[in-house]
């Protein structure tokens, strides 16, 4: 009995690859299950530092779940997560997370600038007195997302897309090395989408790492450098050129994506 367990454990170790210390986020053997049904099953993925990576897959493929489990927000059944080669607990301050746009009942007169200032505390730590300089930094973050003119407006008075930009500005104020976003373009207007992708690309150009759950196959190749195709399991992963291929999309979406649709997409390997 105990010999069998030892054997299995040894075999498991031999198979599981080591975490990738050079990656912004490295996931090994990640399994998350809801009510005994695996939402994410035994996924290995390595998100390159200094790159923009999309997590793509059909509804129910476990995209958001993978992101949240990697952040430690929801418990994982098994698996190992490292961020820049460190355990999650030690690297938390290097990560900024922008959740999916929420339908919030904003009945409180909070000003936009105050929401952004809130993002700065974790970084400022014990020097966290809000000074003029912090206000200027918060305004600069708003400027980056094209919302500088709205600094003193109440958050509840903004459109959904504008609110999404404010929450991106709050994440910018955290000055993180790894930005993780859950469907940042869902339900936003074209101007907001353009503003957000511009900011994400500039973060990448500064050497930061960006990971986003993304649902629009038509823009994957334009927006991102790399892709993880996910359908509960990992289907393909890598640069757009090698991973975002008709064959990989066919395995990810199965019959849900007609060949004609795939033909219209801008894909890798072309």
């Amino acid at each position: 009995m105990s010999a069998a367990i030892t054997l299995a454990a040894t075999a498991g170790q031999a198979i599981a690859p080591q975490p990738d210390p050079d990656a912004a986020l490295s996931i090994r053997g990640l399994t998350v299950s809801y009510a005994d049904k695996p939402a994410v099953f035994s996924v290995d993925a390595s998100f390159a530092a200094g790159a923009m990576t999309a997590i793509v897959g059909p509804n129910g493929a476990g995209k958001s779940t993978l992101l949240k489990a990697a952040l430690g927000v929801i418990p994982r059944l098994s698996g190992e997560v490292t961020v820049f080669g460190q355990p999650l607990a030690q690297a938390r301050a290097r990560i900024a997370y922008v959740p999916q746009r929420a339908s919030v009942d904003w009945d409180f007169p909070t000003r936009v600038i105050d929401v952004v200032l809130m993002g700065m505390y974790r970084k400022l730590g014990l020097l966290g007195r809000v000074r003029i300089a912090h206000r200027d930094a918060a305004r600069a973050c708003l400027d980056r997302v094209g919302m500088a003119d709205f600094a003193t407006r109440q958050i509840g008075q903004l459109s959904g897309g504008q609110q999404q930009r404010v929450f991106l500005a709050r994440a910018l104020a955290q000055d993180a090395d790894l930005y993780m976003l859950d469907e940042p373009f869902a339900g936003v207007d074209a101007a907001t989408e353009a503003a957000i992708i511009g900011v994400l690309k500039s973060l990448r150009d500064e050497g930061r790492s960006v990971i986003a759950v993304h649902h629009d196959l038509a823009t994957v190749a334009d927006y991102f450098d790399r892709v993880l195709l996910l359908n509960v399991r990992r289907i393909a992963e890598g640069p757009i050129d090698t991973a975002f291929t008709p064959a990989a999309l066919q395995s990810t979406y199965g019959g849900r994506l007609a060949s004609a649709q795939i033909d219209q997409l801008k894909l890798g390997g072309a």
Binding site: Y34, R92, A102, P109, T110, R111, V115, Y121, L126, G128
Partner: protein, 320 residues
């Protein structure tokens, strides 16, 4: 499958209402949470909304440092889906009991998740930290993240609700943070001294640039105590500090010695008001919420030390 389940649930809910059965039948669907302090219970209510029922172990005016579990606490925790406590050694007398509880259910110390670089080291215990983080809204907003994450872990179906509610509550806290910063900045610089009953205000002092003096433990009977009181009186007089603050739970003998000492030097010091330190106000009142508690403290301190502040606080909701 999930859709089916929730359909069935709401269908049953409709039946229960129709038949006039007690509400208890529905409550079984809610996540049952026990929180140690009122502040954590309030955050849990804000984030959990209708999906959770929350019970706070410690009511208004209870000292968490000394609190021990009662028989009914044990029963409440045994029946709970999730137990949230503060951590950072705040519930010093409960730690062993909570460790026992953690063997059979989800138990999360929400303030233990804070990054170490926002924490103030404890004066008396190496490797420990001052637990009074709720005094600064910006830090408390990070604890709200931990409450959200604990609720999501216990009830993943509620992820969307918990995420939206946490965001909404954090923007309220952002407004509070801004009110605190702006109000306290109106206190004249020399007067930025907070003399209080016990040492709960270090984070507050650090964040807003106030010197903090806790007088608990200063004995008016010992020579050292008298010497310390004399020093404090000189400080009050020389910096022209007009007010000191009390907490209902702590003896004010030393406080009276301070006031009398200053009066003997011709300087009038008043009791600036009662501050909430380790517990919130009465249940059901504005001061019985986290926002109201901090609003009260900020408004009271600013007003008493010569700053400019609305009498009834950031929303005009404070008791006059």
């Amino acid at each position: 499958m999930l859709t089916l389940l929730s359909d069935r649930r709401s269908f049953l809910g409709g039946l229960v209402v129709a038949l006039g059965l007690p509400r208890v039948a529905l409550a079984q669907d809610q996540l049952s949470v026990v929180a140690t302090t009122g502040m954590i219970a309030d955050a849990t209510r804000q984030v959990g909304g209708d999906r959770v029922t929350v019970r706070a172990l410690m009511g208004p005016g209870v000292d968490p440092h000394a609190y021990r579990q009662t028989r009914s606490d044990i029963a409440a925790m045994a029946g709970a889906d999730l137990v949230l406590w503060h951590g950072l050694y705040l519930e010093a007398q409960l730690e062993e009991f909570l460790a026992d509880m953690a063997r059979s259910r989800a138990v999360v110390a929400v303030a233990d998740t804070l990054p170490r670089d926002v924490l103030i080291a404890h004066d008396d215990y190496a490797g420990r930290f001052d637990p009074h983080v709720w005094m600064v809204p910006d830090i408390w907003a990070l604890v709200v993240d931990a409450v959200r994450d604990a609720l999501i872990a216990a009830d993943p179906d509620g992820t969307e609700t918990y995420t939206s509610n946490a965001l909404a509550h954090q923007t309220e806290i952002a407004a509070l943070a801004s009110y605190a910063t702006q109000s306290l900045a109106t206190v004249p610089e020399p007067a930025r001294v907070l003399v209080t009953a016990h040492d709960a205000f270090n984070y507050f002092g650090n964040a807003y640039g106030f010197d903090v003096v806790g007088i608990q433990g200063i004995s008016t009977n010992s020579e050292a105590g008298v010497q310390r009181i004399t020093e404090l009186v000189d400080m009050l007089v020389s910096r022209q500090i007009g007010a000191v603050f009390v907490e209902s739970s702590v003896s004010d003998r030393a406080m009276r010695a301070l006031i009398e000492g200053a009066a003997a030097q011709g300087h009038e010091v008043q009791i600036g008001g009662t501050l909430f330190s380790d517990a919130m106000g009465e249940d059901g009142s504005y001061e019985g919420t986290y926002i109201g508690m901090i609003d009260h403290n900020v408004t009271t301190i600013t007003g008493a030390l010569g700053g400019t502040v609305p009498d009834r606080g950031m929303q005009g909701r404070l008791a006059s």
